[in-house]
Symmetry: C2
Subunit: 466 residues, 2 copies
């Protein structure tokens, strides 16, 4: 077997024997080995793992053990890839643990795409040191990348594109590829460019293999292929890949010059991070939050979110305080009022979650938002009436007062209606103002349902029962 190919090939396909040994088994093994200082065993386990798996192991360990394991991870290329695979917060704890020489060694093995991603997370001093230590060509490439905005196609693309000219015979292309050896593993098509480097078409390898010599590249290439502008956001690129079922796409500058290519493998990460982000943001968390990170920074970050919520909770309390008189006279109101607020909050968060997903998928627009609002109002009325009836009966049985039963039913219907409307209107308004609806939608919604819930229930009681 030709040398130098085994390692590359292994990555394209998969190893299930390892997969049957679960992460949990490996974690306990590593944990025990580190405790008993059986470093040979640790090294043996690490040697068997892909960088992404080492990253997952590191993320699953508390800080002290994590750094012990990190010290055993081979430097250079493996170390660099591991750094890229861990989430942001964990990444910075690992970087803090490295000296400049180690950082430079890790960086020097990365391509420009990965280097740019890593570079942005480096502390100022380490970043300066790295810029000073990498060679001039690498520095130039890094700066080219950093010129593109974060999370743009220009940052995401790979530059290991294999290009050919249109007028070349297929036989010549085949000889060229043989001389070149080592076409990148995930090459799906050769990119065809003109004399100025402008993209003119693509020649899939499968097609090159299915045809005889004698034809030229121009005869066989696909030309009805448009291109991704380097400034397009990663999220838009991901949408394009999914709606067009793309495998690979060329990235070009404004003049149409080929800059690189994006392959579907890279899109998987974008899609995963995007969905994770929405879920984390809805709980007021940062996407890069480190599950096993140190207590103090986590506490500080989460404190902000709790403070915002406290302000809204005090607003709700202030509303309740307006009705001290009613509460003083009818204690049942205090007992039942959380039910009204809670049902509104749950109903509203269902609508809000649907709206946030719909906005992310691009399904909601001016055309259909009125229809959507009517639908959610319809659902709110139906479910409001259904559960209002149940609550009214239970409240009557509990407190023996028809008045309280009627009033809680009315308040419940009104609050669920407000929840349905707020669940659509709030994310639309946030989106229009350029604010991520996942980030602040739920606090605002809960404020609405708490305030409306307490105010209608206690207000109606004040009017009709006092």
């Amino acid at each position: 077997m030709p040398t130098g190919l085994g390692a590359r090939a292994a990555k394209e396909l998969t190893m299930t024997e390892e997969a049957t040994e679960t992460l949990e088994d490996r974690l306990s093994g590593i944990h025990r080995a580190l405790e008993q200082q059986q470093l040979d065993h640790v090294d043996a386990v690490l040697a068997d793992l892909e960088p992404a798996e080492i990253a997952l192991l590191l993320e699953s360990l508390p800080p002290a053990t994590r750094l012990q394991l990190w010290a055993r991870v081979p430097g250079g290329e493996v170390g660099g890839e591991v750094l890229l695979d861990v989430h942001e917060e964990a990444r910075s704890t690992l970087i803090e643990d490295m000296d400049h020489a180690e950082l430079v060694a890790a960086a020097s093995e990365l391509d420009a795409t990965d280097l740019a991603e890593l570079f942005e997370d480096l502390p100022q001093q380490a970043a300066q040191a790295m810029l000073g230590s990498i060679d001039e060509q690498q520095r130039a490439r890094l700066q080219e990348r950093l010129a593109f905005e974060a999370d743009s196609a220009g940052r995401l693309m790979r530059t290991d594109t294999v290009t050919v000219r249109a007028d070349v015979d297929l036989g010549v292309v085949r000889r060229f590829l043989r001389l070149k050896e080592g076409v990148p593993d995930n090459t799906h098509a050769l990119m065809v460019v003109d004399r100025d480097g402008v993209f003119v078409g693509a020649l899939p390898l499968a097609r090159l293999l299915s045809h005889d010599d004698g034809l030229t590249v121009a005869d066989l290439m696909a030309t009805d292929v448009d291109t991704i502008p380097a400034a397009m956001s990663a999220r838009e690129v991901a949408t394009l890949f999914q709606t067009h079922n793309l495998v690979a796409a060329p990235v070009v500058d404004e003049a149409g010059t080929l800059l690189g290519r994006i392959v579907v493998d890279d899109i998987v990460d974008v899609v995963r991070e995007d969905s994770e982000q929405a879920m984390m943001n809805m709980a007021g968390l940062d996407e890069g939050e480190d599950l096993f990170g140190p207590v103090l920074p986590s506490a500080r970050r989460r404190a902000v979110w709790l403070g915002v919520n406290l302000a809204t909770a005090f607003l709700a309390a202030w509303v309740i305080g307006r009705f001290e008189d009613a509460l003083d006279k009818i204690v049942a109101l205090a007992v039942l009022m959380p039910i009204v607020a809670s049902m509104g909050g749950i109903a509203g968060s269902q609508t809000l979650t649907l709206a946030i997903r719909g906005l992310a998928l691009g399904q909601i627009s001016r055309i259909n938002s009125a229809w959507l609002l009517r639908k959610e109002v319809g659902i709110a009325v139906l479910n409001g009436l259904l559960w209002a009836l149940v609550v009214a009966v239970l409240a009557y049985l509990w407190f023996g007062s028809v008045g309280i039963g009627v009033i809680i039913a009315a308040a419940l219907v009104i609050n669920m209606l407000a929840a349905g409307i707020a669940g659509i209107v709030i994310p639309l308004l946030l989106k229009r103002s350029g604010v991520d609806p996942a980030l602040s939608g739920s606090v605002i919604l809960t404020t609405v349902t708490d305030v409306v819930g307490f105010m209608t229930f206690l207000g109606l009681a004040t009017i009709f029962l006092l």
Copy 2:
């Protein structure tokens, strides 16, 4: 240019001109055209779109307009692919609108992978009709697929694998591929099998192109390639692709016989659906929920979740009811008690969301859960003390009672501690019992923080203030 290649090639790469016309523009255009019965315009727009884009348009339209548009979508292959691309609930509204002949026409163009997915959603009668109308070969293939569990590798794989034998010369392989024409577009490697169809290795196209004739497949193929068992779950396959940076992987049965291949393009959908599902489940929604679906079924499904929440809200109300005496004497308790419950709920949902993500990524295990619990307790104590101080001061200023300030501070710290512990323990217990933590974690958590919050605040007040 050789015929029959243009259409295929266009899919591999991308069309940005269309992308600049936003979905919103297209939606308004289609909407207007449908209203004004300009069906030629509708047809022209549809002819320009990929199936996944048509699916998105359909999902973005209210039921009546959706069916009008669906009637204009070409049947056969396009119709079949569109059906597969829409979410489940929307899919069934479209299927209901089709007669048997249309269904059979759509089905007959789908490969076995897609057909099996579609088949499971068909109403009984339509399913029977389809089984009766497809040819025997297609029926046999469909039944083979249905024998694999839903969401397994056996369902996910494609069977358009190109196989070769190990002892063949590369020149022969190249001639074979030329004769074959039309190697599937996203073929990344040829699969090498023995006489019995057992998988023995993989030969990447890039490698085939970089080497001269004279070598055999065995000389060049990668053999350190393991395989995906057909029974592996789609989620595990996705994890494997991500941790091993895979582009394609062979699927085999228990004897090692090659059954098909899974490519990274298919993984994108699995990853997206998986993350969407967690977010939707946390709000008690179904992943397939149709944003523009009819009101009644949506209301019915969501009613169940609201009912569960109502039961827990009554539990909280019952707890409050135990302290009627205190509430009757000190009205400030009723005003302030939602603050304690709400802060616990927010803090708990932060921990819960992190734990749910950690479990999904496989980061949490027996080894580290104790450490994690200590960390969350630490954060809860720090943030509890910080905000307890703020709340105590504000409560004192509002009601002029040191006792109330001290008691609400104590209750807040206790409830946030309970929230931190519950946020870790609840998802771990649910996971161990085989229940999806995203689905029921948040209801249980809110119950805990409501009950603990009301009980400690009102209980302490009863003991010390009455």
